[in-house]
Subunit: 313 residues, 2 copies
Amino acid sequence: MSILVVGSVALDTVETPFARAEETLGGAASYFTTAASLYSQVNLVAVVGSDFPREHLDFWRGRPVNLAGLQICEGRTFRWAARYHMDMNARDTLDTQLGVYAGFHPVIPDEYRDCELLFLANIQPELQMEVLEQAPRARLTVLDTMELWITTTRAQLTEVIQRVDILLMSEEEVRQYTNRASLVSGVRYLLDLGLKHVVVKQGSYGALLFSANGTFFSAPTFPLEEVIDPTGAGDAFAGGFLGYLSTVEPNSDGQYAIYDIRRGVVHGNIIGSFVCEDFSIGRLRSLTMDDVADRYRILVECSHFDPLWRFGA
Amino acid sequence: MSILVVGSVALDTVETPFARAEETLGGAASYFTTAASLYSQVNLVAVVGSDFPREHLDFWRGRPVNLAGLQICEGRTFRWAARYHMDMNARDTLDTQLGVYAGFHPVIPDEYRDCELLFLANIQPELQMEVLEQAPRARLTVLDTMELWITTTRAQLTEVIQRVDILLMSEEEVRQYTNRASLVSGVRYLLDLGLKHVVVKQGSYGALLFSANGTFFSAPTFPLEEVIDPTGAGDAFAGGFLGYLSTVEPNSDGQYAIYDIRRGVVHGNIIGSFVCEDFSIGRLRSLTMDDVADRYRILVECSHFDPLWRFGA
C-alpha cells in the first residue's frame, strides 16, 4: 500500500560538537520518504528550486518513490542551518531560507488520489489542510508539527488536529500546546480533540503511545553507541511507523489493530535510531530490512521481563 | 532476607510550583528504608539529632525496620531545602545543614553483621567505604552517589565503585563521571571498573540496565497523572530494586539471575513512581504489595509488543 507525504525538502548545513556537514539532503519529507520507501512506495509532494542537486532525485528514482508531485520551481531550494549542543538533544537554528517554499501550495497529482495512508510532515498547518482537502480517500492520516506553528498559527493547527487520526508531538510540544504540566493530562486534552492516537516523541528516550481507548504503550529505546547527527530522527520515526503500517491490513472496520500500531511505534524507534548514526539520510541509503529486523529482535530482547511475577508466588 | 542500608535521614523542606512541605521526613535512607520494608526487614544505619520527631521512629517501629544502627546524637538533624522548577525534573538546593552528620561515622551493630544485601545510599564515599569494611558478608552490594562526590571526592568514589556489584547513577552523573558524551560508552567505562551491572536512572523516562555480560534492559515507565514531589524517587527506586531481590534466591554461584535483576528494575520504577505522588514518604505509608502488583501488571501490558514480527512474514 503506497503512502502519500507532503512536507519540506531542503539542503541542510549541520554542525555538531564533533563534525559538520554542508548542504546535505534534508527536510522532513526527505527523511520520511527515504525511510518509508524501505517498506512501500512513497508518493512525494514537495517543492525544490532549480539549484536542487540532480543526484538526490536520481537516488529517489532508484527506490520506490514517485516524484510526480515534486514541483521543481525557478529559485532556491529551502535551506536550513543548525548547530547542536554538547548533549545533542538541544540545538540552535542558525539560518532558515524558505526559498521556493515561500510561495508553495501543494498539488496532489491524480495518480496519488487513491492513496490511503497520508503523512502530513512538518509544514504550515494551512498547507497541511490543503492536502487533507485534496485527499478525501485517505483512511489513515498522521500529523507532525513544530513549536513554530503552535506559537504562530495555533488556530489553524487545531483545525488540522481535529481532522487527522494520529498526532506525533515531542513532549515539549505537548506541554506547549496544551499548557499543562502533566504530560498525561496534556495527552488527554489532545485525544479529546478527536484523535485516535497520540505518539509522544521523547528523543533518545523513545516514544509513548496513548490511545483514545485509554491504553498506553511505552516503546523501548535503542541506546546508540554514538550519535553523529539527530536531525531527521522524528521524520524517520514517522517513516518507520507509517512504513510498517503500509505492510499490514487494517481490520474490517478500517481501523488498525492496536498491536500493529504498537509495532509501528517500535519500527519508528528503530528507523529513528539508524538515522542518528550519520549525517543527513546517510545511514538510510544502505539500510536493509534485515538491519531493521536485527534491531527489532534486540528491542524485543532488551524490553522483555517476566510478566508473571506476583509477590510470594 | 534482610537488607542493610546506610545513608542520610533528614528533615526536608520542599517547594514545588504548586505546593510546599516543611520539615517532613526526608533523606536517602528514609526513602529507601520505607520502600524496602514493604518487601523485607531493613536494618538502618544512620544518625539523627535530638530534635528528630519521635513519630518517625514510631512509624518505622511499626514496620519491619531494625533501628539498632540508628544513632541519636545531641544536636540538630540533617536538614535540606529545595525548590523545584516548573517541569519538576530540575530543582535548586536552597539550604543544606549537615547537623549531626558533620561528625558521623557509621557503626554496624553486631546483629546486622550477617546481612547479605547492602545498599550504600548517597553519602560521602569514605563513609560508604567504612561500611563495606564492616560488612564482609555482604554478597550483593549496591551503590548510589551524587554529583557532589563525583566533583569533590572522585578518587574515593572510584575506590568504592571498584568494591561493589551494582552502581545506580543518573544519566547526567554517568556523563559527568566518565566525561564521555555517549551514554553507552560511559557505561562501558563503568563496567570496566569491575561492576556487574550499571542502572542508569532517567527520571520520568525510567531506567536502563547495562550488564557486564553485554546485555541491556530498557524498563518501561509508568506515566503519572500528576507529580506532587519527585524527591526521593531514586532512593525509593533502590528500595524497590533491592526489596524485590530480597524476596528471591540467587543462583548456586551466589549471583542473581538476570531476569530477577530485570524484575528488580521494574519494581524500582514502580516504587519510584509511587513516591512522586505525594510529599516525603507520604504515598509509601499506605502502599501495599497489591498496589505494586497492579502497577506491575500495567507495566507488563503497556510494554508488550509482538516479538515475532518479521517483514513479509
